[in-house]
């Protein structure tokens, strides 16, 4: 495993209304990797994400960024929020401005960059997310998928090292989801670490380098996808199912159709194994 860019050590957090958020959670996010966090609703994924960005402070334990323990003073937090970008599930929660252009300029301006630099970043972020033609449009007239892209661009314009996505494919049509995933692929190619919460086990299995499974505020499993998703009873405990490709592969392997220990990631890879 490469060096950890983000890590939590024994963090616990409870909400004021008594809801348990996190319970003694320790995990590490390796630099440059694609990490998926799975778990049922209320498992604490979103709470964890708010800790990564310093918005919530753990009651016990500590959060580390690039090996440094996060202290909660203004300077450190500003620096942390510059490096760790958070993309919320509902873009309407994130977009505060009626103008796409203004929305995108907000983050970089908070970093204290010059206007010329900010402008350059805004244009660049619009270009990579494919929303340049939306520049003139008000955010309230955009479709859900377009809003999602604007929300992503708004974080990208800050050039973070880590981007945290809370269910990026939720409520998107299959094509929109596919586009977002291949876009994430581009981001990792540029060395950005990505952490994603999702309920989609097939996506997690296909896409992730590393998987964490959370339940009731704590980690119950972790490892590379082909290992984690073999544990059927554990998955059932958190009401998850095995990825379809993996399940089929295991069945076929038991029947001697395919060779063991090859773990296809996609349907195509599985079909290829069957053919051989």
């Amino acid at each position: 495993m490469t060096e950890a860019i983000l890590a939590t050590k024994d963090i616990s957090f409870n909400y004021p209304d008594g809801t348990k958020g996190l319970d003694d959670l320790s995990l590490t996010i390796p630099q440059g990797e694609k990490v998926v966090i799975l778990g049922p609703n209320g498992a604490g994924k979103s709470t964890l994400f708010l800790h990564f960005n310093g918005i919530l402070e753990p009651e016990q334990g500590s959060v580390f960024f690039e090996g440094q323990r996060i202290s909660y003073d203004k300077q450190t937090l500003t620096n942390l929020r510059k490096k760790v970008g958070l993309i919320f599930q509902d873009p309407d929660e994130q977009l505060f401005s009626a103008s796409v252009y203004q929305e995108l300029s907000f983050g970089p301006l908070n970093l204290g960059l010059s206007k010329a630099k900010v402008k350059q970043r805004v244009i660049e972020a619009m270009k990579v997310t494919g929303i340049s033609e939306l520049e003139e449009k008000p955010t309230h007239l955009l479709s859900y998928g377009q809003k999602k892209r604007v929300a992503i661009a708004a974080v990208l314009a800050m050039k973070p090292k880590v981007i945290i996505f809370d269910e990026p494919t939720a409520w998107l049509d299959p094509q929109g989801a596919e586009e977002i995933i291949s876009f994430l692929e581009e981001l990792t190619a540029n060395g950005i670490t990505i952490v994603m919460a999702t309920h989609d086990v097939d996506l997690a299995y296909k896409w992730a380098d590393y998987v964490y499974i959370m339940n009731q505020g704590t980690k119950i499993a972790s490892g590379i996808p082909s290992d984690v998703f073999q544990n059927k009873s554990l998955l059932e405990k958190v009401s998850l199912v095995q990825p379809l490709v993996l399940e089929l592969y295991q069945q076929l392997q038991e029947q001697g159709v395919v060779k063991p220990n090859q773990y296809p990631k996609t349907k195509q890879e599985l079909l290829k194994l069957i053919k051989n």
Partner: protein, 258 residues
């Protein structure tokens, strides 16, 4: 006024510099207000509605409907000016007397009312010109350039954005209620509406809280700073505006003198 908002973004004059539109609309408004002549008001009404319908391509019917909204208020306001109630005798054009009180319309008041009607309609047309051709975002950025305190502008910006979220939320709640039999009788219309009202407030509050979280995540430190888009003033447009305004001023002076 969501229709106004949509046309503000989609009209054919939306790419024209907001300052040009603002100067044009506000100076014309000033002339319309200062001038006492009905002819000037009529000219302003024609110029503004002509520009809106022919240049900005706002559909005629939409514009007429929009005009009816303030017009109904104006006409209501004119009634007390037209009709006088006195106990003494006057030279009214039309009059009715009851128990010593005389209700009547005098020619002087009628003229004042008609003048007022035209003048206010002209003013409304000027403001509609600005509202229908200039998106709120750009009006906001102009205010910023005019050095209006940042607090007001941030406030306007957020209110504008949140207004749509609020309307959206209200719509979602209403659809959810309708699909489960809400608003089916007079009685449950009231209860449904009460639920909508009270829950909208709670939801709006949580929305606002979440928004502030999202702002914090991007480094919000108490001040919302955003970048304005660059606009270039067109000399051609500015000269056309200047000529139009000068002609209007000369015209209104001539009407006054003659």
């Amino acid at each position: 006024m969501l229709i106004v908002d949509q046309y503000a973004y989609s009209n054919q004059l939306s790419s024209v510099h907001p300052v040009e539109k603002m100067i044009f609309s506000l100076t014309t408004l000033l002339i319309a207000l200062i001038s006492n002549s009905i002819i000037v008001s009529v000219v302003v009404i024609f110029v503004m509605s002509g520009l809106l319908v022919l240049k900005a391509k706002i559909p005629k019917l939409v514009f007429l409907k929009l005009l009816l909204v303030p017009l109904s208020f104006i006409i209501m306001g004119l009634i007390p000016i037209i009709i006088s109630v006195t106990t003494s005798k006057h030279d009214f054009i039309v009059q009715m007397s009851y128990w010593g009180l005389t209700l009547g319309i005098s020619s002087a008041n009628l003229i004042t009312a008609v003048e007022l009607l035209f003048r206010t309609t002209a003013s409304v047309c000027c403001l509609y010109f600005l509202a229908l051709t200039t998106p709120m975002i750009e009006i906001n950025s102009m205010l910023r350039k005019l050095k209006i305190p940042a607090v007001f502008i941030e406030f306007m910006n957020l209110v504008y954005r949140l207004l749509f979220i609020l309307l959206d939320t209200a719509h979602q709640i209403k659809v959810a209620q309708l699909s489960r039999g809400g608003y089916s009788s007079i009685k449950n219309t009231f209860t449904s509406l009460a639920y909508l009202g009270s829950n909208l407030l709670v939801k709006a509050y949580y929305r606002a809280k979440k928004l502030s979280l999202a702002l914090k995540a991007r480094g919000y430190k108490g001040k919302i700073e955003v970048l304005e888009r660059d606009h270039h003033l067109s000399k051609r447009n500015l000269s056309i505006i200047a000529v139009t305004e000068i002609v209007l001023v000369i015209f209104s002076i001539l009407v006054e003198v003659v």
